[in-house]
């Protein structure tokens, strides 16, 4: 599936291959509706119902940030009668919000960078170099797919503490990288293996070293899979809660999921402020989703399937 990624422009994903062949559009349209107009009606009612279930909480959250507390109580669903810009304004002009976003960005970027570097190098070796123990070491890494970080969270905490990395970005980043390695190496290795074998042979004959081949041939050809693996690592790191919760203990280091929990604790009943804060923290995620939906959808589903 991941191999199909580069092909589709815009929204067209692996899908296209199968859907494309001739069958006239008209007949297919009738296909889904089962023909009868009632079926179409029920189908749309059902789809709208589910869409409402998904969207109403989100819209109410965004709009809630524009309401005064009093209005929120009487009118939680509708548009605000008086648009209260101060909730959003106060947060956007607070150092606190930007500190959280900055921390999250630093942690996620470091994680992505380290995952891409270490995983692609290892995947390259597993894909192209035959040595005694290749298979064994790959299986060893693949064990990482079997269990989540939470199973070993306490020893992990003690380890990070003994390294003196508690309350540092690295204390969160290194375990995150380690736990994403298994999936990343598998995805990358498969892609590397699917690249034409002749490339490597030709390069070797011409006296190119493995290191240069990796640097100048494999990596440039692997941009789509690197984007997919990077996106998966980024989303997990950006949204991650348990590892930072255990490893960090000063507000100044908190990424946004921790910060927003603290914020909620402080302003427990001031829902309009909290809703504005939630909106502003999910905004980067939603923007990224809209911009990179191709990689995110394909990455998260393909990544999961490969596991």
């Amino acid at each position: 599936m991941s191999r199909a990624l580069p092909a589709g422009p815009g929204m067209a994903r692996p899908a296209e291959r199968a859907a494309a062949p001739a069958a006239p559009a008209k007949r297919r349209a009738r296909d889904i509706d089962g023909g009868s107009p009632f079926a179409t009606l029920y189908k749309w009612l059902f789809l709208l119902l589910v869409a409402g279930f998904v969207v109403v909480p989100l819209i109410a959250t965004v709009l809630g940030g524009f309401k005064s507390l009093g209005e929120l109580r009487t009118n939680p669903f509708g548009l605000p009668h008086v648009w209260e810009w101060s909730n959003y304004g106060d947060i956007l002009f607070s150092a606190r919000y930007w500190q959280l976003i900055a921390n999250s960005l630093i942690i996620s970027s470091l994680t992505v960078l380290l995952v891409l570097v270490t995983a692609s190098m290892a995947a390259f070796v597993f894909a192209h170099i035959k040595f005694w123990g290749n298979r064994m070491l790959l299986n060893y890494l693949t064990m990482g797919l079997l269990f989540p970080a939470s199973t070993a969270i306490l020893p992990l905490f003690i380890r990070v503490r003994d390294f003196g990395l508690l309350d540092t970005y690295l204390g969160v980043v290194l375990p995150q990288v380690a736990f994403s390695l298994a999936m990343s190496v598998l995805l990358l290795r498969r892609f590397f293996k699917d690249l034409p074998e002749e490339l490597l042979e030709a390069a070797l004959v011409d006296g190119c070293s493995y290191l240069n081949f990796f640097r100048y041939v494999t990596l440039p050809l692997s941009r789509p899979i690197l984007a997919t693996v990077g996106t998966i690592a980024f989303v997990h790191s950006w949204n991650g809660y348990l590892l930072p919760l255990v490893m960090l203990n000063s507000d100044a280091m908190y990424p946004w999921p921790l910060g927003i929990m603290v914020y909620q604790g402080e302003y427990s009943a001031e829902w309009s402020l909290i809703l504005a804060f939630i909106t502003l923290t999910i905004l980067p995620t939603l923007l990224m989703f809209l911009l990179a939906q191709k990689h995110i959808v394909a990455g998260l589903t393909a990544g999961a399937v490969k596991g």
Partner: protein, 296 residues
Amino acid sequence: MVATALRSRRTDGQLPALLLFLPPALLLFTIFVVMPVGEAAWYSLFNWNGFGRPTNWIGLRNYFSVFETRAFGLALRNNGLIIVVSLLVQLPLALTLAIMLAEKFRGSVFLRMLFFMPYVLAEIATGLIFSFVYDGDYGLLAAIYRAFGAEAPHLLASADTSMAAVLVVVVWKYFGFHMMLFIAALQGMDRNLIEAARIDGATRVQQLRFVVIPLLYPTIRLSVFFAVVGSLQLFDLVMPLTRGGPADSSQTMVSFLYTHGVMRMRVGYGSAIGVILFVICVTVAFTYKRWFMRDE
């Protein structure tokens, strides 16, 4: 001659790559994944608060006390409930939507994206949004109750309803992901089979029942597997909603591990929970491999 030259060239340059490329990943993995898991097994045999070295060996007593803790039973039950709801509600919902949206028509791509969106949102944000939805004073649910002149319930604050409330959020957040799995499978499917069935006079329902669904079995298994694994990892979503409460009524395995092990710095006890969770995860993974992948 050429072949041997080629071969030696091939092996010549391999060593630097091997020595440079493999160690970073292997070291990170060993230090931060494999060793902690081993240490969890070791620490779980001690009564230890994390300071100094573990010296107070108590054998398997941590495990006994985990099994005796009421919250552990509740966590297991809740993880089971999540799996049941995933199978009975989420999976049929995702499958139905996938069958509707796998075809191209106006709005289908938009709806797919819309339904997938909750999966991308952070669990923490989702949990907070729904703690607003459920809020007895300001929440959306409260407004609906008030519109009918009824007293708004505090769902999250009652031990009887807290888990049900969490389950709704679980479905809200994850059905889109399962839908996408099915859509990907449906689009990879050989349309000729469906066409053949149609030409042979199969009705729409028969096509689904006898052709499409059987072809989807591997994906259905995969979806079940993810539901099980996801349930075993569920934590971030529960924290902003209930923190496992009230009275442990909405604990999951991981939130139980966090609230009873990590927060109280009971390293031995918490490690024992971790080991139990580890054993469950590995068993699930191998069972899946054994029973579900053999005919592929």
